[in-house]
């Protein structure tokens, strides 16, 4: 891709096909074509801004930082969920097709309503300090290495959009972003909750079939499937399937069993 930048820096024009429409009204659903002058290093969001400034001010697009930090400008570019501000126009062969995220209801043009995510967020059992954690948490770098990776999430919800379970099936699956959230809490050294039962029963973790699309498209390069979803699945195996772990847990005595029954509530306190 880097070679392509050198081949045709800022020459000519690029054609954008932008999906327009208001809400879910099929009568307004259409593709509009715009021809935008190329500039060196231009990203798709620049082209959208050019359209708004020079061609059609009625085009709606959500954006904020233009630097891949805020997660606002999520869209589907040539079918692939991406951030508009991190997609160089020159990396795309042919016309640039910009569509809203299909997993969420459209408000207008490429702006979608991602509110459903906050309802799911409220379902995840929150951080709960483990017994004896004290007032001031004291832990070491190696204890938070893993959950730090998940803090990179900018909540662009591209993983939710690309996930076929969230997108195409009416399944009770929280989606990749929220498994990442649960994993970041589960792996926190000072957290005392075991969210495995919750993730299996209410979180619908079993719906994930490891096809790794979320991991492929994450703009923050969080290794969603390998580092969050599969470890969460292995914890569910520990809690719900593995007979050896079950025996081990019961042999460890009443104190541990008590802790388990407390954890087994799995719901929010």
């Amino acid at each position: 891709m880097s070679q392509k930048f050198e081949e045709k820096p800022g020459e000519g024009t690029v054609k954008l096909r932008v999906r327009r429409g208001v809400g879910s009204d099929p009568a307004t659903d259409r593709f509009d074509e715009f021809v935008v002058p190329m500039e060196k290093g231009m990203v798709v969001l620049n082209a959208i801004h050019y359209i708004q400034a020079h061609l059609d001010p009625s085009l709606s697009a959500r954006w904020n930082c233009k630097a891949g930090r805020c997660g606002s400008c999520s869209a589907e570019i040539n079918g692939r969920p991406r951030l508009m501000c991190k997609t160089p126009v020159e990396s795309i062969e042919g016309d640039v097709v910009v569509e809203p995220m299909k997993a969420f209801p459209r408000l207008k043009d490429i702006v979608t309503d991602v509110d459903a995510n906050w309802k799911v967020a409220a379902m995840i059992p929150p951080f709960t300090p483990k017994p004896g954690a004290g007032e001031i948490f004291r832990f070491y770098q190696q204890d938070v290495d893993r959950s730090r990776e998940f803090r990179r999430c900018i909540e662009c919800f591209l993983c939710q959009d690309v996930c076929h379970v969230v997108r195409e099936h009416e399944a009770d699956y929280v989606g990749p972003r929220w498994v990442v959230k649960a994993a970041s809490l589960d792996m926190h050294p000072m957290d005392g909750l075991n969210r495995s039962k919750f993730m299996k029963d209410k979180g619908g973790l079993g719906y994930c079939n490891i096809t790794k699309c979320c991991q492929e498209i994450c703009p923050e390069h969080i290794v969603i499937t390998d580092d969050a979803i599969i470890p969460e699945k292995e914890r569910v195996v520990d809690r719900e399937y593995d007979p050896l772990v079950w025996v081990y847990r019961h042999l460890r005595g009443s104190k541990e069993a008590e802790a388990q029954s407390f954890r087994a509530t799995g719901g929010a306190p």
């Binding site: 891709m1 589907e76 040539n78 079918g79 692939r80 969920p81 990396s91 097709v97 569509e99 832990f139 070491y140 190696q142 204890d143 290495d145 690309v162 076929h164 379970v165 195409e168 099936h169 399944a171 699956y173 589960d186 792996m187 926190h188 050294p189 000072m190 957290d191 619908g204 079993g206 719906y207 994930c208 079939n209 490891i210 096809t211 790794k212 699309c213 492929e216 498209i217 290794v223 390998d226 599969i230 470890p231 699945k233 292995e234 914890r235 569910v236 195996v237 520990d238 719900e240 399937y241 593995d242």
Partner: protein, 236 residues
């Protein structure tokens, strides 16, 4: 789209797609079963066929280990069941009208016992190194031949694949939330980090280790058929 280094442009794109891992696995199962039944070559000139190590009767165990492997799960859910086929999908209709239960139904819940097949896989690993050692000394003197190196390569790849398993990752440290709270926490974090590096190559190792098994089997069959493909490096 994707970041491909230059040499990969020489290959057809389809060869780099993960479905080749799936279909090669299916092919190995079919050809392996047929070959083992129709033309058994359990051993030739001190080389033990990996299908027979330690005995052909346990072949189903590594077979199920691969079937429940997270790398293969990705492949067959994408390319066999097409849930989904790919990630760039303007209007993908491949799931339309089909019921989807993911890994929640009775059959796919068996995936959750992957770790038990891992235990079996680890138990089988030493036999491949035994085969390598046996091929060196089978004749009573020490002899190093090309076939022995092929056996060793196969053993190493199988070890790499087995020990890069996600269930193993959970076992060696993924199940610990607070490394400074447990005994030998630093060492366990170290092991976990190294295993995580290996784990990031799990998909590649899954395929390579499959190819090496087939290669060893074909190599032995070639030798048994009288092909002059073995080279002796050392004999004393």
């Amino acid at each position: 789209m994707g970041l491909r280094s230059d040499w990969k442009y020489l290959l057809p794109y389809e060869l780099l797609e993960p479905n080749w891992r799936l279909w090669s696995f299916v092919a190995v199962l079919a050809v392996g079963f047929w070959a083992v039944v129709a033309f058994p070559v359990a051993q030739f000139a001190g080389y033990i066929d990996p299908f027979y190590s330690p005995t052909v009767l346990i072949v189903p165990l590594p077979g199920v280990f691969r079937l429940t492997c997270y790398a293969y799960r990705k492949d067959y859910h994408r390319h066999l069941f097409k849930h989904p086929q790919g990630c760039s999908n303007a209007d993908r209709g491949e799931a339309a009208g089909r019921k989807y239960t993911g890994e929640r139904n009775a059959v796919f819940q068996l995936e959750n016992f992957h770790r038990y097949f891992l235990y079996a896989g680890i138990a089988i690993l030493p036999f491949f190194y035994y085969d390598f050692g046996y091929s060196l000394v089978y004749s009573g003197q020490f002899v190093l031949r090309l076939g022995s190196l092929v056996l060793l390569a196969n053993a190493l790849m199988l070890t790499g694949w087995t020990l890069s398993c996600h269930a193993f990752r959970h076992l060696v440290g993924g199940n610990i939330d607070c490394y400074s709270c447990v005994a030998a926490g630093n060492a366990r974090k170290g092991i976990y980090d190294k295993q995580s590096w290996l784990n990031s190559h799990h998909e590649a190792l899954a395929w390579i280790s499959l190819l090496t098994i087939v290669f060893v089997d074909l190599y032995l069959r070639g030798l048994a058929a009288g092909l002059p493909i073995d080279v002796t490096f050392l004999r004393f």
